[in-house]
């Protein structure tokens, strides 16, 4: 079931990648000015440029005929547009203002990042200079990212305008050009920058605080994996958004821009891979290690492949498709996490429903922000998801604490109960009574009984506080018990083992309690009793079967859930939580109890 659903999921993701829409292509047949309405679109992305490799100051002239220039494909990288990663290049675009600007306001150009150096000409006049455009690395001085260039009101009258950009790229690799510039009222751009920067820092704060919280949760926690993975995930989110903000708002030297952007692949890789891996561990899903490696490898491939293509290791033509795959990865990560969570819900794992609701909301949000290119959309979504997960984890932690305390109390109580059960007055006093009786009849037998009893008491005292003991010690204890009972009842009880190597581990007195149950319930009117302990391991499951050849009439009695069995169940749960089973019932020639323990430690 799990495997087939997993396969279906992988196929679905492949289909999703294949069918996802390519980035909007610009209509190449479109020719003429782009109309700009500031009251409809406060910030206009200037896309759809004519471009030409080379350099001539004549190209700044608005009257220049650029109809033979190529359309910019807008992939974001020069190299993927078929050009060299370095060199000098011009862009030209015609815009049209249908009316006059609002009085007292002026426009500005916002350049997120471009190539190392650029100049912008507005109707032939230089309005922006970012670094020094040059023919060679020696001539060029890199500019800075995230620059805002105001344009004098006198240049922005109603009607047609031509924007020409002269760009050189020697210090940076390839150069980012999508979108090259945005046009808006100066105040609008400033407000947008302020809001985005504040939001980014706010989100980074949430990620860092949550990471610290989960690191704190690591202390004194038995299973450290989920918390460790989750804090790593939060720290990756924080790092990613901080680097992203630096690129956009901190005016980074454009010579390092591409390098820093590439560096941000590292936190991105961790964000994309750690979230589903976290869920695998948090909900103790099967194949968690193998699946984690698979997720990590796939994510790494998806993150690295566009870079390989950009550096020419993979064919450059693959770049748009690889980029697309990279962009929809945040959605696939969430879908994978949802898949794990749905599985967890079916297994009734605590907190899984809350997490699923959070993830579904994020999935919708991520898709919307992917389609609308909303700023920080995914980060807001991730912040929401981590808050939901934190709430869910805290509730689970509270629940676990409660259960842990309960278990501790219960095992303390059980230990007392156990000592009472075995060294309690009734057992001891009956044995003493038998010793007195034997002393009068056969002092030698009395001596043997005293020794057997002493052996058993010594072993009981040394085991009872252990969580697990080796099966060979448990068997020796059972043999001592059977010897005591044989002497007391003048019957012959013996213990046999088949397929046991003795190194198996079990909570103490489990077999002993089952043997004692057999003794009390099964041997009225029989003088000989054989207890057979059979064992075996298959895959990772340890199976132990305790059989006794008790009297037929005794087996008619119902199998009572006395304190003995309650003890056995609680100790098994304490030592192997959730991965043991116990079944008991009559078999042809007696009574059989079967204990199965999955996984390691047994």
């Amino acid at each position: 079931m799990y495997r087939s659903t997993l396969t279906a999921f992988i196929l679905l993701m492949c289909a999703f990648v294949a069918l996802s829409p390519a980035q909007e292509e610009f209509d190449e047949s479109f020719d003429g000015p782009e109309y700009v309405f500031f009251d409809e679109t406060p910030i206009t992305d200037l896309v759809g440029w004519r471009t030409f490799y080379g350099d001539s100051m004549a190209w700044a002239d608005p009257a220049y005929d650029d109809t033979h220039w190529e359309w910019d494909k807008g992939s974001g990288l020069w190299i993927s547009d078929g050009g060299p990663g370095k060199g000098t290049r011009w862009y030209r675009k015609e815009i049209f203002f249908p009316g006059a600007l609002e009085s007292g306001r002026s426009l500005a150009l916002y350049q997120v990042a471009a190539v190392s150096a650029s100049e912008i000409y507005w109707d032939g006049q230089l309005v922006a200079r970012n670094g020094e455009v040059g023919e060679s690395p020696a001539d060029e001085v890199p500019g800075r990212s995230g620059r805002v260039f105001p344009i004098h009101r006198s240049l922005t009258s109603a009607g047609r305008h031509v924007i020409a950009m002269r760009m050189s790229n020697h210090h940076s690799f390839s150069g980012l050009v999508a979108p090259p510039v945005q046009l808006a009222y100066f105040g609008v751009i400033q407000m947008r920058l302020f809001r985005s920067g504040a939001l980014a820092l706010f989100l980074a704060g949430i990620f860092v605080v949550t990471a610290i919280f989960h690191i704190a949760m690591l202390l004194g926690h038995a299973n450290k994996w989920p918390s460790a993975l989750f804090s790593a995930f939060c720290l990756s989110c924080a790092t990613y958004i901080v680097i992203q903000s630096m690129l956009r708002y901190f005016q980074i030297d454009l010579g390092y821009y591409f390098l820093l952007g590439t560096l941000n692949d590292i936190p991105w890789f961790f964000m994309m891979s750690l979230l589903p891996i976290f869920f695998l561990f948090e909900f103790s899903a099967p194949y968690q290690k193998r699946l984690s490696v698979l997720i990590a490898v796939m994510t790494l491939a998806i993150v690295l492949m566009p870079r390989f293509a950009a550096f020419g290791v993979l064919p450059v033509e693959w770049l748009p498709a690889l980029d697309r795959m990279n962009r929809i990865q945040s959605i696939s990560t969430i879908v994978l996490s949802i898949f794990v969570t749905v599985w967890a819900i079916r297994r009734r794992r605590p907190g899984s429903v809350t997490v699923l609701v959070g993830l579904l909301i994020f999935l919708i949000g991520a898709y919307v922000s992917y389609r609308t290119r909303a700023e920080h959309g995914w980060a807001i979504g991730f912040a929401f998801v981590i808050l939901v997960i934190t709430v869910s984890l805290s509730r689970q932690m509270a629940e676990r604490n409660r259960r842990h305390q309960e278990t501790q109390l219960r095992s303390a109580r059980l230990e007392i109960e156990l000592l009472k059960r075995h060294i309690q007055p009734h057992f001891l006093l009956n044995s003493l009574n038998s010793i007195v009786a034997w002393l009068e009849e056969e002092p030698k037998t009395a001596g043997r009984l005293v020794n057997a009893l002493a052996d058993e008491l010594r072993m009981l005292l040394s085991f009872s506080s252990r969580k697990t003991i080796k099966l060979e010690r448990e068997i020796r204890l059972c043999e001592a018990q059977l010897k005591v009972m044989s002497l007391r009842q003048e019957k012959r009880f013996e213990m046999r083992t088949e397929g046991i190597d003795g190194s198996e581990r079990l909570p103490p007195l489990v077999i002993h309690t089952l043997v004692e149950n057999g003794l009390t319930h099964g041997y009225r009117g029989k003088d000989h009793g054989v207890f057979t302990l059979r064992g075996g391991r298959r895959d990772k499951t340890l199976t132990l079967m305790l059989h006794n050849d008790s009297a037929a009439e005794a087996r008619r009695e119902d199998f009572v859930e006395g304190t003995g069995l309650r003890y056995v169940r609680t100790r098994l749960e304490e030592a192997f939580p959730g991965r043991w089973s116990l079944a008991a019932g009559p078999v042809d020639d007696g009574w059989q109890v079967t204990v199965e323990i999955e996984g390691e430690g047994a």
């Binding site: 009956n430 009786a437 034997w438």
Partner: protein, 235 residues
């Protein structure tokens, strides 16, 4: 005296039987041993006995099953058990004594003394309930509901406060040894809850009568008269 020992550990059972014979000496008629409840029930169906010596923890079977049935019978029951935590309940059900294991001969002797002599002092741990067999079913009557008991041959009629009457298989002598001190043998055929007595009537010719709260009048033996009149005068 006919005695049944119910004990599942053979060596312990042999010792108990041996000690019983030593303590009772010539008075012993039979001492038989049974290992389980089923066996002892079969035995009791066919034999009548005077004393049952019962281990309350009979290999996981609930010894109280047998105990409840046993105390309804004519014989007296003595528990011989290591489960001292059950002693109080056993006494409440009206066992004659509870001998904790392991025990010495002297302790067993004391238990049998309770059987022999009428109690000079109130019963130390008296019964709180009387178990009677009513049309084959066991009925548990709290001692608080008992007004007086009247001997009827080997049986005893239990007269209750609500006017009801139940029949107990034990004789008045046996019941006298397990009932609380407020019950007094006022006559060879009567045991009365003395708290219920309101008056003593003296008739001519050495005839005495007790009047109980509800106007019930019962005969009072001469030997008990003097002692009782003093007690009533004080009270």
């Amino acid at each position: 005296m006919r005695i049944l020992v119910v004990e599942d550990e053979k060596v312990a059972a042999r010792r108990l039987a041996r000690l019983v014979k030593e303590v009772l000496g010539d008075k012993t008629t039979t001492v038989d041993i049974r290992e389980s409840l089923e066996e002892s029930q079969q035995y009791l169906a066919r034999h009548s006995i005077d004393i049952l010596l019962l281990d309350l923890n009979l290999s996981g079977q609930n010894g109280f099953d047998l105990l409840t049935r046993a105390v309804a019978e004519s014989f007296q029951t003595i528990i011989v058990s290591a489960n001292t935590d059950q002693a109080i309940r056993a006494y409440e059900y009206g066992v004659l004594d509870f001998v904790p294991k392991p025990f010495e001969k002297e302790r067993l002797m004391r238990a049998f003394e309770r059987l022999e002599k009428p109690p000079a002092q109130p019963v130390p741990q008296p019964a709180q309930v009387l178990v009677v067999r009513n049309q084959g079913r066991l009925q548990i009557i709290p001692v608080d509901q008992v007004l007086y008991l009247q001997g009827a041959g080997d049986y005893a009629e239990i007269h209750l406060r609500d006017g009801g009457v139940a029949l107990h298989s034990k004789s008045l002598e046996s019941l006298e040894r397990i009932l609380p001190g407020r019950f007094s043998r006022t006559h060879k055929s009567y045991i009365v809850d003395m708290r219920e007595v309101v008056n003593v009537h003296i008739h001519g010719g050495g005839k005495y009568e007790l009047e109980l709260r509800d106007g019930i009048v019962l005969p009072l033996s001469r030997s008990r008269y003097k002692e009782l009149s003093e007690r009533l005068a004080q009270g």
